[in-house]
Symmetry: C2
Subunit: 216 residues, 2 copies
């Protein structure tokens, strides 16, 4: 068992540290983030920072880096108030990864990477037709992080576009059936396999397996 400390982390080669710190806390959620600019140019980028902030109201967070291509996305969100998160599936993983390339402004990653835009009335941002689970969000807060220049974007879920069969009777989304992928670090992709669903935990009572309730 090795102990890697602050000083060692600070002195690491840049890309070694990026790979290590991006993968240290486990697998990350994976989504395609769709936006549109005020003058109608769509933008699509693969993101691994979506996190759950709360269910009532239904809120998700994402982290945006300070670099240029993300400022495009960030200004689109600021200008239109809307953005979409769309799950990533193995059949078109390479296309989804390709959206991380630095395309010039004016080029839409939808077109460059072969994704189909889909729209919902009164919602400005495009969804990805290829995705089985598509979430439409309205921005609620943008928190500039002084510590490293990133921005935490908080959005409320105002649309969920999916097939009814992907949502269980108790509301749980069946991501195995939806073929939702995850990522470790920047570029290593995985497909989760169902292990166990467990009962609500109470002190002094061992959790029970309730696997039969995964698809009801």
């Amino acid at each position: 068992m090795t102990n890697i400390n602050s000083e060692q982390i600070a002195s690491m080669e840049k890309f070694y540290r990026i790979n290590l710190i991006n993968s240290i806390a486990g697998y990350k959620s994976l989504n395609l983030l769709g936006t549109i600019s005020a003058d109608g140019i769509t933008n699509l980028s693969i993101v691994s920072s979506a996190f759950h902030l709360g269910s009532n109201p239904p809120l998700l967070g994402i982290v945006m880096r300070p670099e240029r291509e993300h400022n495009d996305t960030l200004s689109n969100i600021r200008d239109t108030g809307h953005y979409s998160l769309n799950n990533v599936q193995p059949e078109w993983l390479l296309q989804a990864h390709q959206t991380s390339a630095s395309y010039p402004s004016g080029v839409s990653e939808f077109d460059a990477c072969g994704f189909t835009k889909e729209y919902v009335p009164a919602f400005k941002a495009p969804f990805v037709r290829q995705s089985a689970i598509r979430i439409g969000l309205e921005v609620k807060d943008m928190i500039g992080m002084e510590i490293n220049g990133t921005t935490i974007v908080i959005g409320e879920v105002i649309h969920i576009l999916t097939d009814n069969e992907l949502i269980g009777n108790d509301g749980l989304v069946d991501h195995e059936r939806a073929e939702t992928m995850v990522v470790a670090g920047l570029d290593s992709y995985y497909l989760p396999k169902f292990t166990e669903r467990l009962t609500y935990a109470k002190p002094g009572i061992n959790p029970k397996i309730k696997n039969q309730e995964i698809r009801v």
Copy 2:
């Protein structure tokens, strides 16, 4: 393809909405969060909100809910400045899930759920000996979210305790070998399987598979 809108989400039965919104954005990272109070009582809780904020400095975020048991964790972090995140593995998944039970203050989930505390000099919070990957963090920021009463805790990675063989030559952590799990919703657990590692994306060039580099 169904479109579930804001009004429908707002009118959902409470636990249906909790399950749906907790699982809609995909799989979530899974860790055991270890803390200690000023008077030496340890605390352990399973968390699914860890997210990557940046690599230089090495920063992770977690979301803490406003409820009582989390305020214990939150005040421990505030009082000591330190906390640990430890990966969750299938062999002791039921014990890890059991840490989500509401134990009375004064009872340590380490003892109640059968986990072994491990300490590092000058770092106050306990690590989980059973975990293959253990991260020691120092709190840098606590952001109270007006919108729903949660707190986003930002911490700097100051210790990484793991086996050298779990870290690749380029810094990527091998979570498949570490048997790191993920969760969907509150209680549905999965084990990811490696699919593909891809080359850095550049405009006009198709990504290549570099799977051989996953374990180097």
